[in-house]
Structure formats: C-alpha cells, structure tokens
Homo-oligomer: 348 residues x 4
C-alpha cells in the first residue's frame, strides 16, 4: 500500500492498532462534533491563487520564538506514544529532530523527559505541563525540563477535568500495565483519580514564571478575551487549540478561533494552532490567517503506528512536500509572502 | 451494554418497547422536521469556551419559582408512562424526587394524581392541564392538584387539536385496554373523541387564576407576541415548547424560539424550554440563552423503559454529570456565571 | 396499506404505473434540480405559531376570481390523464366537483372538453391553453371552452419548446396508440412535431382578449418583471409556476418566486402557485406568502392512479384535513387571518 | 445505451477506459474539492426565467477574438488524447472543425502540431503553451504554431509544478511507451523531470509578444489582481481556470471566480471560462456572468473515448442543443440578449 497522503496513515492505524488504543487516540468529546469540525472548517476556506510569480525556489523555513525550524509544522503534545509504537516518545523525538522541527513532549509521556532528551540530543523541544494538585511535582517537572534543555514551557489550560469520551468510557480505557506515565511515576495512578488541579487560574502563570526562565506558551485559548488575558499575563505564545475536540464538544473549530485570537493579539505574542491539519494546504491556510506554526496531533500518532520514527518522518515529509507545493501553486516563494490576502471564507 | 449517554437509552427503548408504544413516543407531526430540528438546532450553537477559571467546585443548583432544585433539568409532562414501565408515573415521581428535581405530571397520566403524590411524598411537582370541553372536570383536576401539594399549574397552549402523527394513524394507536387515563376516568374515551376545548383563549387564564392560587406556567409559546401576551395575562412562567415537534410541523426549533421569547420577556417571568435536550451541554446552552431550567420529555421515557425509577435516575444522573462537566470546561463555577457570552450561533 | 399522506400515493403510483407513464409524470428537466427544489424550498419556511386563539370553528373556504371554492387547493393542468386511469380527465372533473374546487383542464387532455364538461356538469373549471402555430385551432379551442362554461382561460407561457426530460428521451415517450390528444384530433401528431408557437409574445394576450370574455390567467411567471408585464397586459390572474421543474432546470423554486411576484403585483391581480405542494401546511405557507390558492399537479395524478375519481378525492381530502389542522395549530380560524406574519424563512 | 446527456459519456468512459487513463483524466488535486466544486457551483446559480418573448429563431453564434464560431463552446487544452482514442488529437481537430468551434491544442499532445493541422485544414485552432526551462524549445513551438495557422497563443499560468493527484501517484502514471509527447520529442522525458520553468513571471509575456504576432490568451487566472495584471501586460484574452481542479485544491470554483475577473476586466479583454461545464444551461450561466465563450475539458475526452471524432461531435451537439433550448426557455433569441439579469446566486 502506497502512503500518499495522511489519510493513508489514518487508515493503516485504524486497521492495525488495538481497538482500545485507536479509540483512545481517535476519541472526541460527546458527539465528536468539534473533533470533526476542526477538519471541516479548513474546507470552508478558499485560496485566492496568484500566478506568474517566480517560485523556482520556495523557502519554507521559519522561526518560532526565535529558533529556526525547517518548516512550520511541529508535533503537538499527545500522551502515551507507546500505545502507538514500542519505543514511544523516543521515536517521536528522533523523527522531529531528523525533520528539523519542534516536538512538544507531553507530561503524559510513556518515556521520561530524560529518555526523550537522550534519544535525540540537540533537538528542539518544548515541554507540555499540566498543573497538578501536588504543586511540588509540577515544579520538579518544570525544572527537570529546563535543565534538560527544553526550550519552551507549554501550559495546557483547557483540561481542568477530562472531557467525556464515550468510547473510552465504554472500553474502560486504562494504560496497559506494562506502560507507565513515567514522568510522574509514583505520584498517582492515572486510572484512579485525576491529579490535575481544577482550581488553576491566570495567577498561576505568575507562579510558573517564578519557577523558570523558559518562555511560557499557553495552549487551549479559543476567544479574544482569553487571548487578551494571556498577553497581559506575559506569556510568549498562544496555541489556539480545543484539545483535538476531546474536551468541551461544540466549541469552535480551531482555524475559526484562530482568526479571532490573531486579531486580539495584534502581533504582541506568537500564535500557533493545532487540530484538523491533514494536508500541506491546511498549513498554508493557518499561516495565511496569522499562525506562526501549526502542530499536528493524531497524524503524528498514525505515523508512529505505521513505522515508528521512520513512519513519523514519512508523515512530516508528506506535509512538508505538500506545503511547499501549495506555496508554489499559490504564488508564494517564502513564508514571509504568506498573508491574509491568500484566503477567503466560503459562504457555504 | 454500558449506558454512557442518552442515545444508549434511546437505542435500548427502540429495541425493547412494543413498536406501537415506541412509535407513539417517538412520533413527530407530518414529516417530523421540527422534532428533528429541535435536536439539530443545538448543534448550530457554539460555545465560547473560557479557560483558567477556578472550577474546583462547580455548583449546579438553581431555583424555579423560588424553589430549590438540585440542577436545572426537570421532567416535562408526557402521557401514558405505563406504556414504558408497569408502575408508570409513580416511578417517574420517585426518580424525580430522588434526584431533587421537578416533575410535571400530565393530565394524561396512567396513574391518578393521588397515586403520584403518595408514591413520592414531598417531591416537587407541577400539574399539567389541558382545558376540557367539560370545564367542571378541568376545575376539579386543578383543585385536586392544589390540594395534593402540587406547586405549579402548567397550561398546555398548543394542542387545540392533536397533531397529525402518521405512524399513530397507521398503527391505529390507542391505549391498551388495561391502562386508563385515570385522572379523567369516566369523563371520556380517549380514542373516540377529543375532550379538549379548541375555543380556549387568553381569557381562560383569568378563569384559571380564579380557581387556584397556584402559579400558572404556560407551555407552548414560540413567539415574542405570545410571550408578551403571557406576561400581560399574569402568568408566572413560560415553557418554550413545540410539544416535541408533535403538533404543527415546521415551526421553529425551541432553542431558536427561546432567544426570541427571552428577549421579549425581559426578565418579567421565568422562561423554561423543552425539546431536543440530549446532552448536559445542551442544558448549558439553554441556560446561556436565558432559560431558567430545561425539561426533558422522550429521554425520561427511555429511562423509564430501561429500568423504571432506577433507569430514569440513570438518565438524570448522566445529564447532571455532563452538565457539571460542561460548566467546568466552559469556565463556569456556578449557574449564576452562565450567560449569553458563553455561546454564539454558527453560520452553518 | 393505509393512505395517510400524499407520499403514500406517490409510492403506490411508482409501484403500479407502467414505468414509461411514471417516468413521464415524474420527469423534471435535465438534472431535476428545480423539480426537487420546489419541495425543498417549503422546508426552509418556518411557521410562527400562535396559540390560545379560538379555533373551535375553522373556515377554510375562499374565492378565486369571485367564485367560491371549498378550500384553496385546485387541480393544476397536466396532460394525458388516461395514462393514470382509464376514465382520464372525466374522473378528474368529477373528483374536483365533488370536493368543491377548481380543475384546470389541459389542452393535452385525453378526453375532449365536451366529455369533461358532461362528466361533471356545474363544476368550476378553467381551460389551459397552449397557443399553436395554427392560430385557428387555438381560437376554436378557446371558444369551445367558453361555450362549455369553463370560467377562466389559463395561458401557459413557459413552453415555447418542451424541456429536456432525459427519461422521456431514453424511453422514447409517446402516447400509447389507443389514447389521443382528443381536443386537437387531426390537427397534428404529438410525437412528430410540436405544434406550439415559440413566437408568442405579450401582444398575443391582446389577441386572446379579442377572442373571449373569459378572464385570462397567465401561468409560468417567475420574476417581478414578467409579473409587472402581466398586470399591464390586463390579465386577471398569475400562476407562479415552473411547470413542475419540467422546463428550464435551475430556475427558482416556485414558493421562493411567489414572494417576488406577490410584491410586484401589489394586489392588482390574484396570484396562485403550483409546484411542490405535498402537505396541508405547504398550502398554509403559500397563502401566508400571498397566494390566493394553490394548484397540485403530480399528487392529483397519483390520486387518479390509485383509484380514479375516488383516489383523487382521497388526495384532496387529506390536503383539506391537513390544511384545516395546520390553520388551527397556527392559530387561524379563517383564511382571512392568514398572513405573512405566520412565516419566516429559515437561514438554513 | 442512449447517449442523452454528458453524464452518459462519463459513465461510458469510466467503464471502458483503462483504469490508469480514466484516473489520469478524472484526477483532481488532493481531496478533489475544487474539481467537484467547479460543478457544484453552477448548481447554486438560479435562472431568472423570462417568458413570452419571441424565440422562434434562436441564434447561438458568437465570435471570439473576432472570429465567428457556431456556438460558444470550445475545446479546452488537455493532454494525451491517444489515451482516449487511437487517432488522438487528429480526431479532436476534425470534430471541432465539423462543429464550427475552436480547439485549443495542448503542448502535451500525442500528435504533432503539423499532424493536427493536416487533419482538419481550415479549422479554428489556438495553441496552448507551457514555458519550458529550455526557452529555445518554447520559442520554436510558438513559431511552428503561428506558421501552421493557429490563431491564438494560450499561455498556461497555473502550472509552475504539477499538482498532487493522488491516484496518479498511486498508479505511477506514465504515458504508455508507444505514445509520445510528439511536439517535444527528444527535448525531455515526461516521467523523469518536469521541463516546465517555475520562474516564469509576468515579464515573460513581453518575451512572448516579441516572438509572435498571435494574440495571447492567459489561462489560469482566478483573482481580480491577476486579471488586472493580465490586462496591463497587454494580453488579448483571459481563461478563468483552475486547471480542472488539478493544481491547487480548495481554490475557488471557476464560475465564482469568473464574476470577480469580469468585474475587474471591465470589458478591456475577452474573458472565457473552463471547468465544470456539464450542460447547455451551464454555458448560458457562464455567458450571463460575462464569459464570451466556455471551454470543455473532460467531456471532450469522454466524447473521444466513446467514438473518436464522432463521439466528440455527439458531445458538442448535445451541448449545442441544450444551450439553444436553455436560451429559448430563458427568453433569449440571440447571444447578445444574454446578460447578468438572467441569473442570481442562490443563498444555499
């Protein structure tokens, strides 16, 4: 079977992953409306294609928070990569480094931050944090990440409680006994009680800033009001995200929310987006609407499930090639030429 | 089979109820457009999710007409509960009391008001009235209800005649001979001729007010004009309802009509809504758009059909849990924080 | 099989009519978009239901061009009724008279005008005219109709040539040899060459007016411009029609065009509509938007195909009952209370 | 099987062409959204049908760049006609001449320009050019075309690189070894490396103008900005095209882009459109929105695949008949009467 586009990897993963793992990765909250809207919303955006521009050389490189990446697609934080591939997050780290992009490692990794760092020294990585009831555990995690050379701290803001994912309830989803949330080993049991602290507020940004010199990126912003609050609390970046549609169902598609957030932020901090990216042209649309970079969640897992590090590189390479081709066909020779003039919202 | 969401109860009821009973409960008028629109209209409303608010404690309690309920979901008046469960409305009354919410008992109950009261003493109950050609029969019902401690009188305004429900016509629907509309026993035969009075007008509100000191709630309002008339005639509450899409097909979805009614009422009386509630997040949307409480019809019957009182409690508990979770994920710690800022209508 | 709604008659006709006849009646032009839009457009109109109005007596009678009809649903002109029932248009005439409504007999009837008149003396009938290349033949038809007591002359304006109905082309549709277009017998052969005159213009209205004292109703108007021209040329009525979607595909649905035509006409002549009427509530919508009466095409043929005169009466009686019930449920006690305030266009 | 409409030819081609050839002709880029939108967008345009206009004679002739054609439908440039029919582009040229219309021969023909010219002397033909890295090869082609009597030079602007057509990648599409891109024989190998020059810009229009006196038509314009640039660079015509949805997916449908381009051009040059034409009424819509002529791509290939020259004539004749009938039914007796007043965009 030729792997030509990301859907091929999805079909492969659906076929070969254990049902409980596939269901966990695929799950959306409630009716999965937002999960699916994340994808559909891209289809309502139309390019305004320009022609006869010199696109003999197309430069797809960009920077995030001052660091160069080979193209504007990073790996979003997702948990439990060993469910997809035995080597888990170590493979993810290697693939991201090989492709020259950023990998946001999740608190809920099945490898430790130390293992991830050792697997791909020198790779660009950010660390994704959930603030726990046990603040000391969180503090320790942040400081371990900083010491290991992670270059950004991503605070997930949209998970005071876990969304209702019906299939996980039906399946009684739980990590297999031979896998562990290693970063938190001993601190709690994932299936018993959530360790996350639902009392976290904007003031906790100040606490985080007191713990680390890492830039703070806040993930899970969907409104102009929260975007403004994020800027005022001194974060360096915002990831427009609805957690892949896994939290509150029937919120906005992220590409729609991006427009509102970018407008509110007015360039004061960098804005990224995740959710629904399935083609290189989706990346182009997100950048045209103001994102500095996009992050992929499920497609990365499908790549891992296909062939580990190599499979994830395949996924990234397809996105890279499609993105470069889309830029050329839209008449853009470099990322700096991408702008809102390239797109319009379909009335349908 | 795990009962995870309300659709599971629906599937169970469809499988195990006699076809004639399922068809009767499921029926919508004509093409069932409005019945289905009631549900679809919720899907067109998008949350504006807010993050990083302290939701460690989420208070879902509220009041209707001054009486506390444990969460803003009551039981709408529907007829013939014995078609769903042998104990009929007695089970409904017990489940509602156990869950701390309000049950609106129908004129067309298969238990008497006395039996309902005795089954769950102290529960919060309103009585739903159809005005009959035989006004004395109606008067007697109102006064029995008041004497039995019912705390509200719900006048159904949208059934001068019964809507055309094609499956009921095909099935020749009629109550099985061992069930009775006990509240009206002897007064008429349900299948032969409708006892309802199609000449009822707004002036009959005054007549009702002369019979009882109970607050009057009018059910079946869909327009600003009728909402204004309801307020002027001194009712205490309005239930925005299209009778589950069983009366005039191709009227508005109730959640759409709610917006218009709430705007017209300007807080002068309480406004409730029924129709199409299938998830806790639907409740949150209805409250965001101005409803004080919602009422469920068919889902209550599915709960009864599953396991009587216990099954209905399961349904209510799922809605309660989902509502609490939706509030938390939307950033609301109490019902008073819910407002229109939480939602927007999708353009699609 | 119970015949509960018009779709039941459609299903019956599809099952029992010869394919070539079913295809001919069902045909729309090209992709059948407009044929289907005629029906779908009604679904986009929402009622603004009013309650608590005295609807103990609902008067559904009305008048067209000064003549009383028992309810505002007439029989649109369609050809070749013997394809549906052996007695053909004689049955149609009897059913229309029995139900107290108007029947517009087609030039392309398989019975003569004389046979139609004799079958149902005293019934209200209009005659539908195509202007032929042979003007003498047309003149003779008009004068026969007037002499026979037909009370209106309906000029079809939208058939300079026959639309492209793919199934008829595939089937090589032609009247069976034992049927004849009796009104024109000898004048031409239907399958060989169209006798219609594509050079007809508005000036020919004056010619018709010189031939007859019958009121002239023009059928096939879809725009404000043509509605204005019709009024200026002194017609008495307009039937908003797209020939059941059988002529130019992808024109407007008739119920949408009605709004534009009614606005242009400003009450100077009566406006009717045909196409897409399938339920009593569709009739209510058409009247709310300004139609004085609607006409049904295919549903009448389904009724004929079911049981001739009796079947057509069944169809009309269902529409009558549904229309009366819809009026009551919308809060209207007489046709004069129906107005634009009853409806709104859905945004979807 | 009767060939009644263009879909019949499509079904035939799908059934009888080798899969690899069908896939190549049918392919759209990525998700094929734009390919399909080209067709769907026509369905959202509604006619404003006018009646009672003299359409006894309907004149469908028009001119493009001053040359008469029998009706406003030409043959768009597509490659590799031998994949559809052994005689390839020679058959195409003969059919176009027989029907009195314009054929745009592709650089990627499987016959030489000389063979095409010899096959149908005197036919109206334009030559479609891709500018190659080897400019001398392009120059030679232009000058051969001019010498052979081609009357226009069509520069394709939207193919700096080939779009991603997934099925072609899966199939490993390549011309069968017995076919050749004869016009470029020896110059390059099609499957190995694209000879097209992605550095081409607007300035190259001046270079082309220096090579030839032929009028230059630019193909692939979708925005007002590029339309303005085309006019300023002195082209004689614009073909609004998205390459049949084979280049950048999720650009606009061509009929939607036509409106914008026509508005920008303000009559200074002729505007044509291709993509999505499947019925004579589509041609009428395109002309109503300002196109001077339309060009068909895939339908021409289906005609060839059916019966070569004869099959393509069948396709053109059907479009011609449908176009003439649509004009008559819309009330237009000549092409000059077609205007924007004939159409409106549906809100749905």
């Amino acid at each position: 079977m030729a792997m030509v586009c990301l859907s091929d990897f999805e079909a492969h993963a659906k076929k070969y992953l254990p049902k409980i793992a596939w269901d966990y990765f695929a799950a959306g909250a409630d009716d999965c409306t937002t999960r699916d809207e994340n994808i559909l919303a891209y289809k309502r955006i139309r390019f305004r294609t320009r022609v006869l521009r010199d696109v003999s050389a197309v430069d797809i490189r960009t920077k995030i928070l001052g660091t160069k990446i080979s193209f504007p697609v990073g790996i979003a934080p997702t948990g439990f990569h060993q469910l997809a591939w035995p080597d888990g997050e170590k493979s993810t780290a290697r693939a991201a480094r090989a492709m020259g992009t950023c990998y946001i490692a999740s608190t809920y990794s099945t490898c430790t931050l130390e293992e991830i760092s050792a697997a791909a020294p020198g790779g660009l990585r950010w660390f994704q944090l959930y603030i726990h009831r046990n603040r000391a555990a969180s503090q320790q995690l942040v400081q371990r990440a900083e010491a290991l050379g992670f270059q950004g701290l991503v605070l997930t803001a949209d998970l005071p409680y876990t969304g209702k994912r019906r299939d996980d309830v039906r399946n009684g989803f739980c990590l297999p006994s031979h896998m562990k949330v290693k970063n938190l080993e001993g601190a709690f049991e994932v299936c018993k009680m959530s360790p996350l602290d639902p009392s976290v507020t904007w003031n906790d940004i100040y606490w985080l800033q007191s713990l680390t010199r890492l830039p703070i990126i806040i993930k899970g912003i969907l409104t102009r009001e929260d975007a403004e609050l994020a800027v005022r609390h001194g974060v360096q970046g915002i990831i427009v995200s609805n957690h892949g549609g896994r939290q509150l169902d029937e919120g906005p598609a992220t590409i729609d929310a991006l427009v509102e957030v970018v407008e509110a932020v007015r360039g004061r901090v960098e804005v990224y987006v995740d959710g629904g990216i399935r083609k290189g042209s989706d990346v182009l649309k997100a950048l045209a609407l103001g994102a500095k970079c996009v992050f992929i969640g499920r497609p990365a897992l499908w790549g891992l499930a296909y062939k580990g590090e190599e499979g994830l590189q395949d996924v990234l390479r397809i996105l890279q090639d499609e993105f470069r081709l889309s830029m050329a066909l839209a008449g853009c020779a470099s990322v700096s030429e991408i702008g809102q003039h390239l797109v319009q919202f379909s009335k349908l």
